[in-house]
Amino acid sequence: MESPDPIPISALQHWRYCPRQCALIHLEQAFDDNLHTARGNALHARVDTPGAETRAGCRIVRALPLWSDRLGLSGRADVVEFLPDGTPYPVEYKHGRRRVRDFDELQLAAQAICLEEMTGRSVTEGALFYAGSKKRRPVRIDTTLRQAVEDCTAAIRSTFAAGRLPPPVNDERCRECSLRDRCQPEALAIPEQQRQLLARLFEVDE
């Protein structure tokens, strides 16, 4: 039997933002560049170049391929620092400032889980680096985060398997969403209005 394609780690973040966005990107392969993604791409162009260097006893590896066969995840870490004892320490680069929600922590936790499976060492901490504020923030990979990764991966897997797009959230998230034009959340938001317009399509007011 063909095993299902691994879910990209980035899908977790998209899913947490909006399940429909996640499905549009990963199921329908939609990607509409806007300022947001363009800025992200410029930053990632830098961290995406594979390589390794050593600094203060740490081996720093960039653009490291990651996977977890157990969860069916795969992706790439911007930076993994290998501490002198060999413990991996993932660092995820983010454009902009720290955001209110926990997308970034989730992504980092997924990387940690992959690194554990790949190296056999336990990974209890990672860091988020915010390019906007140049701040580095350590994140503990606790059981709550680990559970969130598991749940999220399972939810994504079942949506992808069904091949269905979740309905639009149609709230303030849409304003910042790069897929808004493609998603047409306002057009789909009020089924009742749609139904009425369709029903009146064959009538004319004299």
Binding site: L27, E28, Q29, A30, F31, G163, L165, P167, D181, R182, Q184, E186, A187, L188, P191, Q193, Q194, R195, L197, L198, L201, F202, E203, V204, E206
Partner: protein, 342 residues
């Protein structure tokens, strides 16, 4: 959503090449134009225009569609980057096309959009009519179209829908003459649609505008991930963009309005056409450029869509509609809702 520019190149023997991040148009030794690539969403060439391969590679990479039309605006070929198409959506589209109820409902909607918009063209003409008898004739035309519209939901198979559509078109074009200013009616004498080849000036103009709209609708289908060749109203035939033709129905009256204003405002004249032996009438080279410019301008005009809060430029409407079509196909909406002009 941003209306990026489409570059239309109508100059015969122009050469298009890549120059860093810009597209350069050369004619002979002269550089006629330089356009930054990030300002473009598409490049359309008419007839004998040449392009460099590096430019073609770059266009594909940047997802800028290249469309080759013949000198009369008929579709020849398209270059599309690897991003286009969405296999899950296409699979759903093929299933839906085989689903009679869905195909019929979508065909009803496409024809309804066309009839509603065509009716607005007649009614507007009626409001502007100079003579009482012409106003009455145009209003009667409007009533005939309203009757066709009401008959649509009762059409229980696709052939009946196509029959109603053909009948409505005949009624509409029977009044079309009255929409031309009286002092221009001799030069633009029109009795009904002729195509392949068009046999009078107005038909030549309409054919050209319809070709451009169809080409835009085809690009919109591709951009939405749909298969432009499989339609609901239009029968599948090799090489025929049936879905783009379904989509273009509601936009034809916009082409008609542009044709009328070009004629009535004297932006186009008898010298804009050449008559071939035997009676075929074709557009003359310079006139094609003028029409393309007028078409481009018209596409900037923002119109209110019943499903969206913000007004949308007419040029983006095919893409908006193609996406609505995709949503209907995926079962996210109750059915396809055409864009109707109020």
């Amino acid at each position: 959503m941003q209306l990026l520019n489409t570059l239309y190149v109508t100059t015969p023997d122009a050469y298009l090449r890549l120059d860093n991040d810009t597209l350069r148009v050369e004619v002979g030794q002269d550089t006629r134009l330089r356009v930054p690539l990030h300002h473009l969403s598409g490049v359309v060439t008419f007839g004998h225009v040449m392009l460099s391969t590096p430019l073609m590679h770059r266009l594909a990479e940047e997802a800028i569609t290249l469309t080759l039309l013949d000198a009369n605006g008929r579709f020849k070929a398209r270059l599309e980057g690897p991003q286009s198409g969405n296999i899950l959506l296409r699979q759903a589209q093929h299933r839906r096309a085989a689903e009679m109820a869905f195909a019929l409902m979508t065909a009803h909607a496409c024809v309804a959009g066309k009839i509603r918009n065509a009716r607005q063209v007649l009614l507007r003409g009626a409001r502007e009519a100079k003579s009482e008898s012409e106003r009455a004739q145009l209003e009667r035309g409007g009533n005939d179209l309203a009757a066709s519209l009401r008959a649509l939901p009762g059409a229980i198979d696709l052939d009946t829908v196509r029959g109603l559509e053909g009948e409505a078109a005949r009624q509409y074009f029977a009044r079309f003459n009255l929409l031309i200013r009286p002092d221009r009616r001799d030069a633009f004498h029109f009795d009904g649609r002729t195509r392949r080849p068009p046999r009078d000036r107005l038909n030549a103009l309409l054919s050209f505008l319809y070709s451009m709209w169809t080409s835009d609708c085809r690009a919109a289908c591709e951009a939405a991930g749909l298969d432009p060749q499989l339609g609901f109203l239009h029968v599948v035939r090799p090489g025929r963009p049936a879905l783009a033709l379904d989509l273009v129905e509601e936009f034809r009256p916009f082409a008609d309005r542009l044709a009328l204003s070009l004629i009535n405002r004297r932006q186009i004249d008898t010298t804009s056409f050449v008559e071939r032996e035997g009676g075929a009438v074709l557009l003359e080279g310079d006139a094609r450029r003028d029409i393309v410019v007028a078409f481009q301008e018209r596409k900037q005009e923002a119109l209110q869509h019943s499903l969206f809060k913000e007004a949308i430029p007419l040029g983006l409407m095919p893409l908006v509609q193609a996406r609505l079509m995709a949503r209907a196909i995926r079962g996210e909406t109750e059915g396809y809702l055409p864009f109707v002009f109020k």
